[in-house]
């Protein structure tokens, strides 16, 4: 079992291992295996296509958390230049679970804010598994206010299981920090684009997720509660997570249908981690298009539209008040 492949990806992993083996053999024999190789490669592509054509929401949520999935800094390195990470909330500390900074994208100055998970164990711990604390959200807010002051568009990358549920986080006002961001982002007088690049975990994700354009990577997820959390509360068993994932409708396709996200950014066959460079190109394209759509827009009109969009969220029945 290859740990870099998810359970449902294992048939692909096996086939790829076979191809690698064959390549290795091919190197030190005269036998022409080119034909066999290209046959296997084609088979692998078909297999991947068929597996990925019918992913369940639960499988997609595993993809969103894939150990090799590109994170905020992977994208920043590929799509921006002149990135300078800016640290600290000026009150308590610096939260490595949220990365902020100024940068350029094709020369255009931007403010970029993203949640950051760790790749290896040391980094995972340092970044608290991408679960921000109040100082992280307050740092993000400080950067947004700076962006407002200097008329820089804000780009946020959302990728978190959720805001950190810990004693210190509660002591320092996790609720207030999230609430304050929602309050301020609603009226921030500069354009905001949000991209769910991986996991959009509840209030911890939304706290950097209020904007004028909300895009979502094809295999990202966005939910009010994790499928496991929902399953253990409503089904009284975390094993029912696949059912919960289905019921919650956490996938980009479903959320686009429901009008909760504006755009789906396609990922390469097999997911973003199979070709990070190609994914970054698509993401950069989407960001540039959105930035262009902000150009010359009256800021009052933009803030008004953002407000109206927020007010439209919800489903209810309105009876005639007699």
């Amino acid at each position: 079992m290859n740990m870099n492949f998810l359970e449902f990806e294992q048939p692909i992993a096996e086939l790829e291992a076979k191809i690698d083996e064959l390549r290795y053999v091919g190197d030190d024999t005269d036998i022409n295996i080119g034909e066999e190789l290209s046959r296997l490669k084609a088979k692998c592509k078909t297999l991947t296509e068929s597996i990925f054509a019918n992913l369940t929401p639960w499988q997609i949520s595993q993809l969103a958390r894939h150990p090799l999935r590109p994170y905020t800094l992977d994208y920043i390195a590929r799509i921006t230049t002149h990135f300078d990470e800016l640290h600290g909330d000026r009150a308590f500390g610096d939260d490595p679970a949220i990365v902020c900074g100024t940068a350029r994208i094709e020369g255009r100055p931007i403010m970029i804010i993203g949640q950051q998970k760790g790749r290896d164990t040391t980094e995972k711990i340092r970044r608290n598994f991408g679960m921000p604390k109040p100082e992280g959200y307050r740092k993000a807010l400080r950067m947004m206010k700076m962006a407002e002051k200097f008329h820089l568009p804000v780009i946020t990358f959302i990728d978190t299981t959720g805001a950190y549920p810990g004693v210190g986080a509660e002591e320092r006002g996790q609720s207030e920090a999230i609430a304050r961001n929602l309050f301020e982002m609603a009226m921030l007088r500069t354009p905001i684009m949000c991209v769910i690049i991986g996991e959009g975990g509840s209030g911890g994700a939304l706290a950097i997720g209020v904007g004028d354009h909300v895009a979502m990577m094809e295999y990202g997820t966005y939910s009010v509660i994790s499928p496991e959390g929902c399953a253990s509360i409503l089904w009284k068993s975390a094993d029912k997570a696949p059912d919960a994932a289905e019921a919650l409708g956490i996938t980009s396709r479903r959320l686009k249908e429901l009008g909760l996200v504006d755009q789906i950014i396609k990922e390469p066959l097999g997911g973003a981690h199979r070709n990070v460079d190609a994914t970054a190109v698509s993401l950069r394209g989407a960001i540039l298009d959105t930035l262009q759509s902000f150009d010359g827009k009256d800021i009052d009109a933009l803030v008004q539209q953002r407000y109206e969009r927020l007010m439209r969220y919800g489903n209810f029945l309105e009876k005639d008040s007699a």
């Binding site: 006002g173 207030e176 009010v224 089904w235 429901l258 969220y313």
Partner: protein
């Protein structure tokens, strides 16, 4: 309680679950000090134990009834009803849960909004009904809250909200999460208009409600010993794997950590809020 019930004739036995609902029957027991209380006395005391001052949970109607002046009153958003747009089904259908909650509470959803006065000061007051699916915030709660804010903007009057909620309503999935953004945006508009918002956190105020409208008061009040926080204590315990400090996430803890301004006894709530609002709106003392 069980030993007590054995001694009492059925007529004066209270029904179980006094924590969840306003208990019926002639007698009630304090959850905190176990004192047996005459129900009429307890209700006159706004469900605060006369022996130990423990604040029991109050339903939304009773809350607003005791908070507002008797006249004038006008309900806002009563014509809004929840729908199961996503056909959400866990072990039970959301549709059935709605019907069940509506029957149990005689309310359409978990937030009640009334426009009225407190000691002659005009305002809009909202209160969460915890017995309606744990006071969870779905689309109707969000929309009613926004209409409460709109009424404040229209009449240029302050807003007071009594929170009692477990958080977002899972059965409305991402739509419920978006109510956090929606209600917070409405409060941003209220704030911009220079109108006061007093948030009163009561037991319990957790999750998505705490992390949106409840923490955004110009002044944040709390009832004594209310549980207030983002993550539930059980979730935190599972994460940090240590015993949580005494009084963790209680009102007093929030005051000492700077998240709440004042703890207010329920019996003083009217006078306290009227006094604060009269100062914030630069009017004569009520």
């Amino acid at each position: 309680m069980s030993w007590w019930n054995k001694f009492l004739p059925t007529k004066i036995r209270t029904e179980g679950g006094s924590k969840k609902a306003v208990p019926h029957g002639l007698w009630a027991k304090c959850d905190a000090c176990n004192a047996v209380l005459y129900r009429a006395d307890l209700e006159r005391n706004l469900l605060v134990c006369p022996k130990c001052d423990h604040h029991m949970r109050v339903g939304a109607r009773m809350r607003l009834e005791s908070f507002l002046d008797p006249e004038p009153r006008m309900e806002i958003g009563a014509n809004l009803e929840p729908v199961d747009a996503l056909k959400f089904k866990d072990q039970k259908k959301y549709k059935d849960r709605i019907v069940q909650a509506q029957k149990a509470t005689d309310e359409k959803d978990a937030l009640i909004v009334l426009m009225g006065q407190v000691l002659g000061i005009p305002l809009v007051a909202a209160a969460f009904e915890f017995r309606f699916m744990g006071g969870s915030m779905g689309s109707v709660v969000g929309e009613r809250f926004v209409r409460a804010v709109d009424a404040c903007l229209e009449h240029r009057i302050p807003l007071v909200c009594f929170s009692a909620s477990g958080g977002a309503r899972m059965q409305e999935a991402l739509f419920s999460l978006m109510q956090m953004a929606k209600t917070s945006a409405a409060l941003a508009r209220l704030s911009k208009a220079g109108l006061p918002f007093i948030s009163v956190m009561t037991d319990p105020t957790m999750g998505g409600v705490s992390a949106s409208l409840a923490m955004l008061g110009d002044i944040n009040l709390a009832e004594p010993k209310a549980l207030i926080g983002f993550a539930g204590p059980r979730v935190i315990q599972q994460t940090v794997r240590e015993v949580l400090p005494e009084g963790f996430q209680r009102s007093e803890f929030l005051v000492s950590h700077g998240a709440v301004d004042i703890i207010v006894d329920r019996r003083d709530m009217r006078e306290k809020i009227a006094s604060l609002l009269s100062i914030l709106t630069r009017q004569a003392a009520p």
